[in-house]
Each structure stands twice: as C-alpha cells, then as structure tokens.
C-alpha cells in the first residue's frame, strides 16, 4: 500500500483521470482485503497443505516435504475412498431429495393459509433453531439400540431391536433420517417464499378451466417454482456435502467406516485421532470443494439454458 501512496503523490500527465480510478480502488480495497484474507488465503493454504506432507513435526518446523499430488493419489487409491464417496453420494442425494419433497409438500400445504397455519409453520422451524449438538444428541438417544424411544415404539408393534447407530447396515440410514429432519425447515421456508411469488390469478384461471388440485400443482406450481427449486437443491447439496457435526456426534462415522462420508473422513484425519494429519485431510477437503464447485457450474449452465429458451 505504501507504494500506491507514493505513486499518487507523483504528478503525471493523466493526473486528472487517475483520481477517479484510485478512488474506486480505495473504496474497493476493504472488500478486496477482506476477500483475500478470509477467502483466497485459506483456499490457498488448503491447497498448499494438500500438496505437502505436513506431519506434526513439519507443521511446527515449517519445512514440509513437497509431495505434489501424492496425497491425492493416496486418497484415491485408499479402500476407504470408494466407500466414503458412495456414502457421501447416498447421504447427500437421499437427504436433499427427501428434504425437498417434504419441504415442498409442507409449503403447498401451508400456502392455503388456513387458521393456525402461521403457528404451525413456525413450529416446523424448530429444527433450524436448535443448536446442532442438541438435535444430534437427541437423535442419538432416540435411536439408541437398547433404550431408545424409537426401538421401544417399534417393539410395541412387534418389531425386534434395530441397532440404528451400531449396525453397519443402518447407521448411514439413521444419520440420513436425522439430517432430513434438520433440512426440512430450510426447504420449507424458501419454497414457501417461492410459492407466494406465483400470481394467484393463474390458479383462478386454471380453476375456471376446470383443472383439479393435482393438475394445478403439476401444471402451475411445479413449473413456476423451478428457479426457486433449483437454487434450493443447489444450496441443499452444498450444505449436505459438508455435513460433519451431525454424523460425528451420532456415530463418529462408524461403526468402523459404515457412515463415513468424505467430510467425516477429512475431519477425522485432521482432528479425530491422536495425531493430526493435515495434508490428507486438506486433500479430501479440496475434493469436496471441487464436487460442490462442479455442482455450481452445472446449476449456472442449466440456468443459462433456461434463460435462452
């Protein structure tokens, strides 16, 4: 910055035009500094971590060995990778599909504006307001194999004990269910807002033409909600890809690796064992960023296509 001040003090031929550009830059500067400090640097640091071998010793002494793409190669060839990738895909896709479906159904339901609908809608926001540690712990108590309320209820119907969190067959399903519950309010709020932007006269016209409720939903609501749906699903995807807390609290990614997603894997490498392994953790984290980035690009592509059409 000192040099820019010096440059400004020196008179030049185009001095008359310059101040405007400098002023613009000056106003931009706080934002630029902010972006560089809090976005560009961490991203750069994450890439740097993943390209070196940062053992605790190298981390302290600041002399990590440059290993190029070795960390990525090690991760991609690890047996745990395909499993974690599959778990991530299942967890994310099932979560956002169910959250969207339930959120949309509730939004349409509340859109009719019956008495008490505002109160009920507010109650559906509760999962959003609770601290995650509370909701995740509550879910893990409810799903406890031996004393959980869910199993107690199932037993009343003659269904035997299901080891929700402790069986490799059900632990991913259990954390997905909890995550769906957490994500419904977000979908409900955004889709509800989207519904209010659909002109009421369209429904009136459809009613005059004799369209039933089902047809009104599929011919008016769903198509007109498309842009809102797209952004809801994209945000849902990004939020869900990076979920660590709820899985960590409920299962620690276990039993063994049964509910380990890429985000959990990254977290465990860095903070979950006695010895921090920042480099592979950063590499897994970067892969996640790439996946989210690709999804964002697809979203932009689709949107452009729609605008053109």
């Amino acid at each position: 910055m000192a040099s820019t001040v010096g440059a400004l003090a020196r008179p030049g031929h185009r001095a008359a035009r310059r101040p405007v550009r400098w002023t613009a830059l000056a106003f931009l500067a706080p934002l630029l500094v902010y972006l560089l400090l809090f976005y560009a640097y961490p991203l750069y640091r994450n890439i740097e971590l993943s390209l070196h071998d940062y053992t605790p010793r190298a981390f302290i002494q600041g002399n990590p060995e440059f290993t190029g793409l070795d960390n990525y190669a090690a991760i991609l060839s690890d047996d745990a990778f395909l499993r974690a990738l599959g778990n991530t895909a299942l967890f994310t896709l099932v979560s956002i599909a169910a959250q969207y479906a339930v959120g949309l159904a509730l939004a349409v339901f509340f859109h009719r504006g019956f008495r008490l609908s505002a109160v009920l809608r507010a109650m559906f926001l509760v999962p959003w307001l609770l601290p995650l540690i509370v909701s995740a712990s509550t879910w893990s108590w409810m799903l406890n194999s031996d004393n959980g309320i869910v199993n107690a209820a199932l037993q009343a119907f003659g269904i035997g004990q299901i080891n929700w969190l402790t069986s490799p067959d059900t632990s991913l399903l259990a954390v997905t269910i909890a995550n769906i519950w957490l994500g419904v309010p977000f979908n409900l709020v955004i889709l509800y807002a989207g519904l209010q932007n659909i002109p009421a006269d369209l429904y009136e016209a459809a009613g005059l033409d004799g369209a039933n409720a089902w047809q009104r939903f599929w011919r008016i609501t769903f198509p007109l909600l498309r842009p809102v749906s797209a952004i809801t699903l994209l945000l849902g995807l990004i939020y869900t890809l990076k979920v660590v807390d709820i899985i960590w609290i409920m299962t620690r990614g276990g039993p063994a690796d049964a509910s380990t997603t890429l985000a959990i894997w990254s977290y465990r490498e860095a903070f979950g064992t006695g010895q921090p392994d920042f480099s592979p953790a950063a590499a897994v984290g970067n892969l996640l960023i790439l996946i989210a980035f690709a999804a964002g690009l697809i979203h932009v592509r689709l949107q452009r296509g729609e605008e053109r059409a």
């Binding site: 981390f59 893990s140 620690r252 276990g254």
Partner: protein, 416 residues
Amino acid sequence: MNRTSAKAAVLGTAVLALTACASTPPQGATTAEAKGGAYTWWDPYPQHDAGSAWAKRVGACGQQAGVTIQRTAYDTTALTNQALLAGQEGNAPDVILLDNPAVSTLADAGMLTAMSDFGLEVNRFDKNLITAGELDGKTYGIPIGANTLALYYNKKILDAAGVDPETIKDWVSLNAALKKVKEAGKKPITFAAIGTEEGSFQFLPWFWGAGAQLTQLDSPQAVEALQLWSSWLKDGLAPNSVISNSQNTTWEEFLTGEFAFAENGTWQIDSAAKAGFPTGIVQIPAKAGGTAPTPTGGEFITVPVQKDTKRYDVTKKILECMTTPEGLVETGTTFAYYIPSTADGQQAILAKEPSLKPWVAAVQSAKGRTSDNLGTKYPKISEALWTGVQKALSGAASPADALKEAQAQAKQATGN
C-alpha cells in the same frame, strides 16, 4: 469527489491495511512482555476455573518459584491443536500439561525440551508411567499423576445374583459371573467401544491381558480378546449400544443401577461413592488369571522449547513444586482421580486415603500406550485397532478378519 478527499481515502485505506498487516508483531510483543513478569501455563482442565483449588495450587507453585503464573485451560483435543499452532508461531507457553499419548507426537515435532536439558531428575517417577514421556532415550515430560481402568461393580446386583467379586480371577470366572447376573435378570456389563481413542483405551486391558502386543494386531491372542468382547454382545451380556458409547455414557448407564459391572476409570471414584447403591472395584483380570495390564491415562507436564533458555531455571522450580510427594498427593486429592506417580507419593496418599489401595495397585501394574517404543506410531495403530473392534462388534467382520484388516491398516499407516 475532489482530489484531497480521494487522497485521504487512499491514505486511510493504506493505514488500515498496514495496521492489519502489522497487528501480529505488537501481539507477539505483548506476549513477550507478559512472559517477562509471568510464566504461561496451559492445561486441559477447563472445568477448574480461576477460583478453583487447582488454579490456586498452580498459582502457589509459581509464587514459590518467585513468579506469577498465567493459566489458560483448553479442552484436551483443542489443547493439542493450540500447542501445534503455538509451536509453529514460536510463542509456546512455558508449561503445557499434555495428555500422555500426545507427548511423543509433540516431542518428535521438536517443540518440547527434554527434562535432562534443564537438569530435572526423573528417576523417582514410576518406570511404567514415565515411559509414555520417553522418545529415543530422552524424557520429555513427567506425569503429574496417573489414572487407569478397573471394573466397578454394583454390590446390590452381585449380592442378589449370588456373585462374589473376589472369585473373579480370570476370564472364565468373569464370564461365569456375568452369566449368573444375566440369569438373575439384570444387565451384566457395559463398556465403551466408541470409534475414538476411548475405544482403544477400553479394549487394551483385554488385549494386553490376553498376551497380545500392539505391534501385531492380528495375533491369535488379540483375536481371543476381541472374541471375548464380541461374545458378550452376541450372548446379550453387554448392550449393543457399547459400539457408540463413550466412557461417560457407559458410566451414566452404570449409575442407573441396571448394570452389574462397568469398565471405567479412576476419575469416577467420587461419583461411584455418591451412587445410589454400594459399589466396589475389581481389577480387570488377564485371560489366564492375575491382573491385566491396563493403559495409563493422565497428563504429563511438558516444557515447550523457549528462545530465552534462562526461563528454564524457574520452570524447573515450578515442575519440582508440582511433583513433591506432598504436591502429588495434593494434586491427587484436588482432582479426586489422580494416583501419584512416584513411590513416595503413593505411600503418602495411601496414608491419607487407605481406600485407594486397589487403584494404586492398578496404576502400578499399568502400562503406557506409547511405551514399547511405539511413540508416534501409537495413534495410527490405535486408530486401526478401534476400527477393527468396531467392525467385529457390529458384525461387519469376524474378529479374526477385522484384526487382519486392522494390522494391514496399521502397517500401512506406520510405514513398516
């Protein structure tokens, strides 16, 4: 906008940016300044605030050494990360109390001073305890006390089931006792097999008690130990939820009065005394009889490397003050869960509280997790071990297969 105001704006931003860049050095300066008058101390006991007996005890040792101590408490995992960051920045505190498996990791990173480098005598500490602080023949920390595991029992349930805890001498007699409890309609045992370090910590007494070594996770002895745990789940002697339970959760289960036995640690002595039923402990039996080696827990006092080596003289005085026999007893009673780490200290605490006798015996036969020269390899081996335990208990693999995979994983991770 005219030129002057534009200039002012640029200048203002420049100053802002400059101060932003410059903010690190002044901070460093204040730390250094604070260090001149005060010695910095980090520990993993956020439950003890500034007014607690522990804080006062730390402060008193500083006073004796002629300085004031600035104490900061983090929780255990945050402490290791903070220590790594401080090591990287070169502004580590004078003293850190570290969980013992972390000592070799930080020592290997070169951020700890060896005790011999500032002349602290380490011979008086129990050999089995201090090995956790050793790396390549040097000692990088001293235990301020130790805790370990044993089997707590609910006397009411055992009496009703007709089980005499004194008869539990090996795995066969333990299994017989558990079956008797089950026949009496109560829940026999609970433990923590969670997929973290706690899971390995709880499994080790059985693992070592079968004669297995951490260098060979798939030995027949290791398989026997894991088969014991799996059979408890399969036969309904232990609840399935142990797979996701932490030591705290299992302890809460035990406190409900439903369970006959719980594997837990020294730190629950007070809580057990306050339980709504009479309790007692038995040592964890080895497979063929006798006491199984249990893993030692507890913190080590470590001294991070300082640029100003003159500081070590005072640090040494603080360390000595913390580890006199009286000091160790005081630490032990302040926390209610520490057995002193020297023979003198153990005698002194027994004179004061004879009921701790079985715990002193347990600590004497305990074994450091990073000992056997495993050092920094231990965390990797432990991760493989707890993953294997989880696989077997959840039925994803047989004990033998799970441990075979665990050994392969450990081998790959430690690079031999």
